[in-house]
Symmetry: D4
Subunit: 215 residues, 8 copies
């Protein structure tokens, strides 16, 4: 496994990362890591590698767009001196364009999204030995759905920036699309965004596949 | 308008009809009619026709399948001696097949659904001067989505039974599909089933279009 | 309809406008628009004109008099750069004179009311392309009732100022009076001020009648 | 004062009598007497006549019509073996006809009201040495208001039955009408039915004026 | 009655005055006046003198000693520009000496109490046309009880200062002592300090006896 | 110490015994023993005698008079097959005569009290090897206080019955009276009945003094 | 993997199995499966084998001993017609002997435990194609600790009965003991019994290792 | 007994001292002293020595390490001018190393612990006439358990510093170890740290044994 004893990983993101974690930053006992994929990653690491102590920190805040995350990135991510940084942002950048089409000042368009991601990735690379870029996603199997199509555009920006900057790219969108060949999206998330425990487990598994993890 | 002074309409259904109404049967002051399309219908009737007193009763219960509704139909609908009956059931018959695929005893398959509907329509016609059949729906614009496709199958059963029995058929599925040409489904319902107030207003308007209603 | 794609309407007012909305300013998902006429206006616009995105903002705060609203008008209304502004204030200016007769510093008398309204209308006209003045009201059919009589005085100030300043005047008082010819005021509002959903629907319908709205 | 040491008075009624008292029957410590006129009567008696122990019992239940009260009169009033009985019922008999005009089975019309009252008075006279009939009321100063007019009709039934049966008649309607010459009804009760502490004090004072009470 | 139209009375005190009122200062609708003797005074005045509007303000705060009240007297009493001021303080000055004997810094001894009272009375006389001094009390009939004996010492200070400064002295201690000849103190207050509604009524009646009040 | 390994003691009583314990019978983990003297007894026994396991059961129910306790004595005490039984009842028999003087059917007079106690003691002696009678008390140092005087009468009945039947008599009244020579009753219990932790500790200590207990 | 499409597994047990699940039996959406190892098993199965629908049912109830579970085994396990049954019971049989040593009727001793397990295993084998026996455990690394030692005795009974009856034996005690070589028991469970998410993940992983599961 | 009339004792510590007390500093009525050993000490002193008023102050805050306590020691302990100071800290210094091994910045290692204790003891001796050092503990009978072993190391630092500085050393660890010879640690504290009432009583008794206390 790629993480070493006493490494620290900070997971930055929105409600999908947050899932009830302590805000702005949560770690340690009780439910401070939230109930989403971050906790499942933490549990699986601790269960499978008892001899390696990995410090997992949840810096997700519900409702954040990439604009919001950028504004707090120094305080909630960089200043924690992480060894690894994971960024999973963009769902709300897209979602607000569809569920609140008239509230234009809440919409983060692709160009700004790319700029925000570029700044966060650059800041991350300066302090961390590894950076993960986790694609935003919409658990909608129909690629012609407008929100899915726009989400794919944001995901492509992630993929490209990850490649340019030597980051690990984790493609949640593809993973969920593959899964939906077998089970309907309502099995994982009634609103196609916030996964239940099965969805969180799928995300954690996909993340760990990029970490040389053995169950 | 087709309703006459002191007519009583009973709306039977599941959570889409219920929406927090008093259970098993709600009517009158405060929030006893729930917060869904039934209340919007009631408000629009009362606002537009102050001289006609129409008694609106909500017999929706969250989670009901057609099997559940049939079991309580005599008590919660027929025994109220309604002049008009509206039936909107089937979403859960379909949904459980997708979000709980292994819980087969909660699945109501098309054949049973047709039989349940047939019995309820027959009972309704014996007591009421008019019966509305409201299609179950899934606010999913992609007709190839498996849950949408199955829902369409249930909707077709409704349409057919309505035609055979002289009922008014209200096609919510088509109405939502038309609307989604302009706005994304997340604008109406995050889970594509439980509508917000815009969705409830759309449903009430569609219902009232079959009632010779003038705003 | 008079509103155009991406127009923004700000509804300023007191508890009748607020009705549980997010304070000081609410808009967008969930119950942030409150449960009163503002939400019904929003739902009807969105249902009937899916191709026109209108941004509806609720700037109502419970208990406000015209004095309170004036004090926050720049922050909660003007600075939002609305295309349309609706002002519905005055109920509490009058009410406190009757339910708290000894608390004279909470009474806003007609002269001050007129001055407050004049300032708000002037500020509104500088930024918005249209201004609605909605009459304060008391759902009391007896024109000789002292509180109704005083409310009519405030309403007359509204009507006059609206005419002088080219604003649209919406006469809620008359609309409710007409309605009470058919149903008793307790059917709409137990305290003759805070309308239930029927009352909110009546108010929204009356408002939309001045907007070239088609159901 | 007419009450003697260890006399028991039972106050039967609806929400105006109940006001949060223990149901179906409340007496003794804490808030078991509710927060309405019954408690004020009890406090004034205890304060002014420390040497006379009067047992005050609240048999009011919110929402009751005369039909509901009659159904429980034996259990909640007669079986308590009171020395004095006070009956204050009828507001809901009238109110439902105005706020829920389509729910006809909740309407208790004048004829039935008179029959219900007749039965309760007869039962009371068989066990108690004194019976008070307290008029239902609507704190509406306009005698032409339809609900006030109908309430007056029920009040007249009370007055007549009281006279025929040797009961003490307490005319709350007239007392409130006189008071409204000085202060507006909203000063006493926002919904013109449920009095605040000023209203409760007015009612208690009016009641005690028929009891040879000295402050 | 001594109060005139639009007079304002401010009641300063501790929990006995406060009784759940809005803090630091409460007046007007709902329960802002608390549930103690202040509200009973207000209700009796409004009931008996509808033509005289008296503004009643509750400036009681639970737990206050005379030291605490003095510290906020300018802000919570004087600055309100009252026509009449009522001061009822001292229970906690005494009580803490008995229920928390080791917490000496919470004890306000007689000398300091006298100084605090002197300052508050002087400040009151400068702004108000009348000042009431209400004795602290302990509803303990045994004059030899140590806490009662000490309370009597504080009460004597009140009586003396009232006489010297032309204030109205209301002797709650004597009134309660007289009452306890008929009923036990537990009938009024389980802890012999916080009166129930009977006790509050007794206090209000005693206060109003000094105001030329007619029931 | 008189208790032996695996002995069971059942404490029967009212709110003083109950103090929030599980009802009707509490024992074991968490707060099931309540927060009163029963728990302090249990804690002291377990702390001082780790080698002796004593089963302590709380059969106290708030508000009980001796009449209520007698009615449930078989179910809540005898059927538990205790080795020792402690009875502490009578406070409410007396208290209701003072705080609710008009509610005569809630008063348990001395004769009935003696009969109730006699029956419970007899039943206890048939099954237990030892019976404790704990005096009811009123933490009122003045022996001339009417409630204290009546309580003493009930206490004398206890003392006499204990002596006649070979029970251990624990005189809480005397213990509290002695204590009040040093500290005021409000230091132990604001209402002179329900002790705080100091009072509960005093009671437990007094009880254990009759059990040959060493701290 | 050993489970086949549409197989049903019922997990019977105590609070370790229950962990907040719906009682007496939970399955399906939301948190009905609880938050313990049962949910982790369900999530991992669903994530790794999307094409195999396995129905997971939680029949755990907090506080149950083997005596309690046996009493409801027919209703909560057998009657559900499971294909697989998992039994994890015994922690409370042992625990009560240590935290409530005097409450002997709550202690289930080894002999009764063996008999209870024998009956449940026999009943299970009659209906299911496979039976899992999961050892009770105490996350106490010191094998000389008295509660650990007794728990090992119960675990040995499980192991033996599993071997005799062809059941799969899952040794949680050994798994936790091995884990404690690396991390302290407080890392998994503050009370050494109720595991946090890391502990639940360890248990699920250990269970699945006997199911031919691939991550 | 060593405490004199009007002496003040301040108990500084973590959650074991705090146990729900008012924070940062609690004393006096109600539950302000918490529910732990501090309250039991207070109750026993007040019960046994009514003529000596000792002021007991709880300065415990949950979660505190010696680092946290040192940071607030001047404000929450020294500035209160205590006659006696008790310090019980260190459990969290050790615990976090075991339940959160990767959160190294929350670990207070032995050297820092010794320095923190040295500073607090020195400050205490400057103001108080007596200083108690209460050992941190882990109610784990196995001395080879790693957390117990480390706790013993911290306890040894306490003992040594107490001896060097003339403080009273109270050895909770030894007291609990002795007790566990008779009853299992789960009888006192499920998590081996936070004692129930039996544990709190044991601690209070052990503390008082160093105070020349007689029960």
């Amino acid at each position: 496994m790629i993480f070493q004893h006493m490494d620290r990983i900070v997971f930055a993101g929105d409600s999908v990362t947050d899932m009830g974690s302590q805000c702005p930053v949560g770690e340690g006992l009780a439910d401070r890591l939230g109930r989403g994929y971050v906790r499942v990653v933490d549990s699986l690491l601790a269960a499978a590698y008892p001899e390696v102590y990995v410090r997992v920190t949840n810096s997700g805040i519900s409702g954040d767009t990439s604009r919001d995350l950028l504004a707090r990135f120094e305080r909630d991510v960089i200043s924690l001196e992480p060894d690894w940084i994971s960024i999973c942002i963009g769902v709300n950048d897209v979602w607000r364009q569809f569920d609140s089409p008239a509230l234009s000042d809440q919409h983060v368009l692709p160009q700004e999204y790319g700029e925000n991601m570029t700044k966060m990735i650059a800041a991350s690379r300066r302090v961390a030995k590894g950076v993960f870029v986790l694609s935003p996603y919409y658990i909608e199997p129909n690629p012609e759905d407008p929100m899915r199509r726009l989400m794919d555009e944001y995901g492509a920006i992630c993929r490209e920036l990850a490649a340019e900057n030597g980051c690990v790219f984790v493609d949640f969108q593809k993973m969920f699309a593959d899964y939906c060949a077998y089970r309907h999206s309502t099995f994982i998330a009634w609103d196609r965004v916030h996964p239940n425990q099965v969805g969180a487990t799928l995300m954690a598994r996909e993340f760990l596949r990029h970490c040389d993890f053995t169950f």
